[in-house]
């Protein structure tokens, strides 16, 4: 019994998680196996509907490609920024503060600006026009460029988070190691490849896992920039089924698939612990 009593202060937290994490997840599974029209359970009707829908397959593909591209761009960008701003540049304290400004903007605030930046008559095309280039259709549904615009917008907003994680890890590397390598004649590039990068490995891995899992549930960015059908992912597909068709079964089926994917990919993080 004393072991159980040790857990008592955590009881409210565990009860809350049971009610608002476990219970709705199970209810979503039940909904996804319930025929929305007849109420029949168990039924595969929702999965049949969803797998017969071309938009679902586009959403599934988008949900693999978009997070992969987002993680690659943000981790590379965050690493580059961290290395640049770890160096002794003039005014680097101010620069570091400025670089995290996008992170301070709430997601919808950032995205509403981006709608106007990448609109046909928006700021990006105005900048192109001023430089003498033709305007570009940044966010036309279904185009490849739309994909890259969405990746760029997400990177613009979230790279500061990766930057902060990697800057902290970079600061914890003792200067003496690089100094010793420099005395042994290693150039900047070799020092980066053989000292900085291996020592940053745990932090980089954490960044990839955390950003990857976060990007897997990407929702507001494609929804606000392209609508539910422009660059579908599983989240926007589920929302589309819910709000445009009122089909809670199909919405639950698509979102439960996403949850399953997310839980499976969370398992490696559990073994590593959470502290980035």
């Amino acid at each position: 019994m004393p072991r159980l009593r040790a857990w008592a202060p955590a009881a409210p937290l565990l009860l809350y998680l049971a009610a608002f994490l476990v219970q709705p997840s199970l209810y979503a599974v039940k909904l996804s196996f319930t025929d929305t029209l007849t109420g029949h359970f168990p039924s595969l009707a929702n999965f049949r509907l969803v797998t017969g829908d071309g938009l679902f397959w586009r959403a599934l593909a988008g949900n693999v490609l978009l997070p992969a591209a987002i993680v690659a761009v943000e981790v590379a960008g965050g690493l580059a920024l961290a290395v640049l701003l770890a160096a002794r540049l003039p005014g680097r304290r101010l620069l570091r503060a400025i670089v995290v400004v996008p992170f301070a903007l709430p997601e919808v605030v950032f995205l509403t600006v981006m709608r106007y930046v990448f609109a046909p008559r928006g700021y990006a095309n105005a900048a192109l026009a001023a430089a003498g280039f033709a305007p570009v259709d940044w966010l036309v549904p279904g185009r490849v460029l739309t994909f890259f615009t969405v990746v760029a917008v997400d990177a613009w907003h979230v790279t500061p988070v990766v930057f902060l994680m990697l800057l902290a890890a970079l600061a914890s590397i003792p200067d003496e190691i690089a100094e010793a390598a420099r005395l042994d004649g290693a150039g900047a590039l070799r020092r980066f490849a053989f000292i900085t990068l291996p020592l940053l490995r745990p932090a980089l891995l954490s960044a990839v896992l955390l950003r990857g899992l976060d990007a897997l549930r990407v929702f507001a960015t494609p929804l606000m920039l392209t609508g539910a059908e422009g660059l579908p992912v599983l989240s926007t597909y589920a929302y589309h089924q819910w709000s445009d068709y009122g089909n809670d079964g199909a919405a639950a089926a698509a979102s439960s698939l996403l949850a399953l994917l997310s839980v499976v990919l969370t398992l490696p993080l559990l073994r590593r612990g959470t502290a980035p």
């Binding site: 857990w7 670089v99 709430p106 919808v108 509403t112 106007y116 900047a188 929702f219 589920a238 997310s262």
Partner: protein, 266 residues
């Protein structure tokens, strides 16, 4: 090499300030200026026209009040749940491991996969679109708990367990030692956690969009105003949303820069 690095960093810094500048510009210029081609980078006319329209046509006070109420209730619920849990986690490694793992799921679970069943459930129990946002703050607590837990556990770890033991030797109960010795010492963490949790709720979009269809807090309001083609109005609401975000970030900036909360903010 150094000059190139500086140029790159300056370009990035400019790109990072641009969105903030554009929100403020569009918020305080007439909406027709936001539709101009080529668009203006600096405001030509400064006006409170958008704010007036928001008050007259959109009843912004309702959204503002709902957002603030939901955020405040999220803070209260989250702290009540996270405080004892963070304390016991700081004192007992076995409990800490268990809670840490459970909260990883709370932190990374896809919002939509909870928002849809919660919306369906709240329709059944009559909490859907609640004018007081009851379903919403209950859901926001899930997103806020991992943040509060991390910050508070850090606070309790810095309070030596010996202090509580000394209080118990002097006759205080475990609860008494917690209330009168440890809790006053973690007040800074408590303040930081409250502010971060307030922002988690204030900024949240997914649950807000699905659980509140007509009684809308500010984030879905920005979404609808954007989708319906109102750059000025959307930006004015966005600028309003920025006030607590910027305030909290200025207060917590030293801790953020030290990487204390890295990765826990989203």
């Amino acid at each position: 090499m150094r000059r190139i690095a500086l140029l790159v960093v300056l370009a990035v810094a400019a790109a990072d300030l641009l969105p903030l500048g554009l929100v403020l510009k569009q918020a305080f210029t007439p909406e027709r200026e936001s539709f101009a081609w080529p668009p203006t980078w600096l405001p030509r006319t400064l006006t409170l026209e958008n704010v007036r329209t928001l008050r007259e046509a959109v009843e912004i006070e309702g959204g503002l009040g709902l957002s603030a109420l939901v955020a405040a209730l999220t803070v209260a619920a989250t702290l009540a749940i996270a405080l004892p849990a963070a304390w016991v986690a700081a004192r007992r490694p076995a409990v800490d491991r268990g809670l840490d793992r459970a909260l990883v799921f709370a932190r990374l679970f896809p919002t939509i996969a909870l928002a849809i069943p919660l919306a369906a459930l709240s329709i059944r129990v009559g909490l859907y679109n609640s004018p007081l946002g009851t379903g919403l703050w209950l859901a926001h607590t899930l997103l806020a708990l991992p943040v509060a837990f991390l910050v508070l556990r850090g606070g309790f770890r810095s309070v030596p367990a010996e202090l509580e033991e000394a209080a118990r030797l002097d006759g205080a109960s475990t609860a008494g030692a917690f209330w009168r010795v440890s809790l006053p010492l973690v007040r800074p963490s408590l303040a930081a956690a409250s502010m971060l949790v307030f922002l988690v709720s204030w900024d949240e979009f997914g649950f807000s969009l699905l659980l509140q269809v007509t009684n809308r807090p500010l984030p879905p309001l920005v979404y609808y105003l954007t989708a319906f083609g109102h750059p000025g109005l959307a930006s004015a609401v966005a600028a309003l949303m920025l006030v607590p975000a910027v305030g909290v970030l200025l207060v917590l900036e030293p801790a953020l820069r030290a990487g204390v909360f890295a990765g826990s903010g989203r």
